[in-house]
Amino acid sequence: MIDGILLGLQTAFSIKSLLMVIGGCLIGTFIGMLPGLGPMSIIAIMIPVAISMGEPSAALILLAGVYYGAIFGGSTSSILLNAPGVAGTVASSFDGYPMARQGKAGKALTVAAIASFCGGTIGAILLMVFAPALSSVALLFHSAEYFALMVVGLSAIAAFAGSGQVVKALLMTVLGLILATVGEGALFNMPRFTMGMMDLQSGFGFITLAMALFALPEALFLVLKPRTHEDQAAGEINNLRISRSEAWAIAPVITRQSIQGFFIGVLPGAGATIASFLGYAVERNIAKKEEQDQFGHGSVKGLAAPETANNAACTGSFVPLLTLGIPGSGTTAILLGALIALNVSPGPRLMIDEPQIFWSVIISMYIGNLVLLILNLPLIPYIAKVLMVPRNYLIPFILFFTMMGAYIGQNNSTELLMLVGFGIFATALKFANYPLAPLLIGFILGGLLEDNFSRSMQLYDGIGFIWQRPMTLALLVVAVILVVLPSFRARLARKKASSVEQ
């Protein structure tokens, strides 16, 4: 492990990597601040740039930097504008925006930055401890277990989608898997479901799909419903300092939420949103009575809790990605897609075959968090000027960048038409409250899932691998329970409620 860390340090501290982290964090913060553009869209837009660099560790460091930057930028816009770019930062606006309204915008941003820094750093330490342990267990897995594990991951994403959303999330996942089967598979050497179109021979482009699912609907929603009443920032950003007593008050919150957030982040599908809401709720419940009343009216603790949990969860979501090659969230799914495009297959072998990638990403997390604290925070008053860009200019640019991303990847105009088509479909799905991340996760995992399934089928000459390998069977049973349990419980609750009414 020490060798790996040293190798990671060597890679991460090269001039190129440092520039990537700093550049990525700045770009991420800059774009992440724009209302309506979440980390997923930003990473999707940046992928062509990262892939064209050709070096996997540099590309991943850049994307990870963009990711942290975007989360920080998202918190900034929820604090200053009450306009969270992503669901994960909604809880930050509960207390962050009231603080900004009270003229404490600078202080709120500092608390957010410190909380993010600590959450991210403690998360990275936990990642360093748990990822190697998990990946040594994962090395014992065969393709049958992998197949089952991916099924568990996908069903967990559906199960954690929230009440009334489980089947929708499941359907989206299946749709993603269906889209992944289009084109020529590696195993069979024959085109499937291409409808005779040459452009579909290599399947759908994942960048096109990522843009169409996230960036485009978000931009179109901005057009549909302009945020007129919130366009003004809540106040001048001055006085970034926090007092000693405030620092003491948030220290235990940060410690608790870093650990809690990290473990929630590790679970597939749970991710930053649940971690931040849960973190907020837990801290409010355990706070003293007089502090509890402050929650929602500009409490420092109420801001620190979701910010810490959110960042720790983001770091936690790297655990299944790096050790199992299974993304638990939309963002890590996009990162997985980028890695596959760069010819790196994340999974337990990553740590052995390409330790410099594994460790440099982890080391870059520390650097990224540090960059956010010492470079981005002082620059925030200037970066916040981007909020002044009129939407008449902003939206055409966002649309243009989504198209460029799809076009550069394939150099093909048909890709742009597919982008528009999928974008319209995704917007309709968003209208009807279908979760979109499972679709992309299904699409990206589809190839791996089918490969492992086929390999197990070939090894065991049929479906017998399911009952011949107890671990596989157990995992698949867990997957079924995960999907069935929420609706069963909802039904039970409804029955109870109706019997009480009677």
């Binding site: 009334g164 929708k168 499941l170 299946v174 200019y393 243009f400 209208f431 009807a432 089928m457």
Partner: protein, 160 residues
């Protein structure tokens, strides 16, 4: 019927066509030696089609109680929103897709940015035109020189 169920109905249709292809037509072109394999190219799609059909049926029949619309924007009040602008912007994107090769990157992109802003209500031409042109040139330079990806800048006068 709420929009989410209509969409589930459409997806059901997609799954049925997909399933029909997987179950009935795809295996016809399979070479005889491949038929002895335990796994065929259609095996996984067959499984997916079953799960897809079941899941979309559950939504179409309304077994799962859920909110059928986005809390942010209610599609039933679509008239209150700027739908016209969205449609025009989408049409503009299609136009850009079709025009990018024949017009070349610089004309197509500058045009896209100018028309896009005009659709959204911008009328300050003296600012709009230079901003769009400069941004286009910067992006072209970055993509062409820094990323090294060829983007034909000017219209193609001859074929090829």
């Amino acid at each position: 019927m709420a929009l989410d169920r209509w969409i589930a109905l459409i997806i059901l249709g997609i799954c049925l066509v997909y399933g029909y292809t997987a179950w009935f037509t795809m295996d016809d072109s399979l070479a005889p030696f491949m038929r002895r394999n335990p796994i065929w190219p259609s095996t996984f799609p067959k499984l997916l089609s079953i799960i897809g059909v079941v899941a979309s049926f559950v939504i179409v029949l309304g077994f799962e109680k859920s909110q059928g619309h986005n809390p942010e924007i209610d599609y039933r009040r679509l008239g209150d929103y700027k739908v016209g602008q969205v449609v025009l912007l989408l049409a503009l994107m299609v136009g850009y897709a079709l025009g990018l090769r024949p017009l070349g990157f610089i004309i197509a992109t500058t045009g896209f940015l100018i028309i896009g802003s005009v659709i959204l209500g911008e009328r300050k031409w003296q600012l709009l035109v230079p901003v769009s042109l400069v941004a286009t040139l910067i992006v072209w330079y970055l993509v062409q020189e820094v990323l090294g990806i060829f983007l034909s800048p000017w219209p193609r006068l001859k074929g090829g």
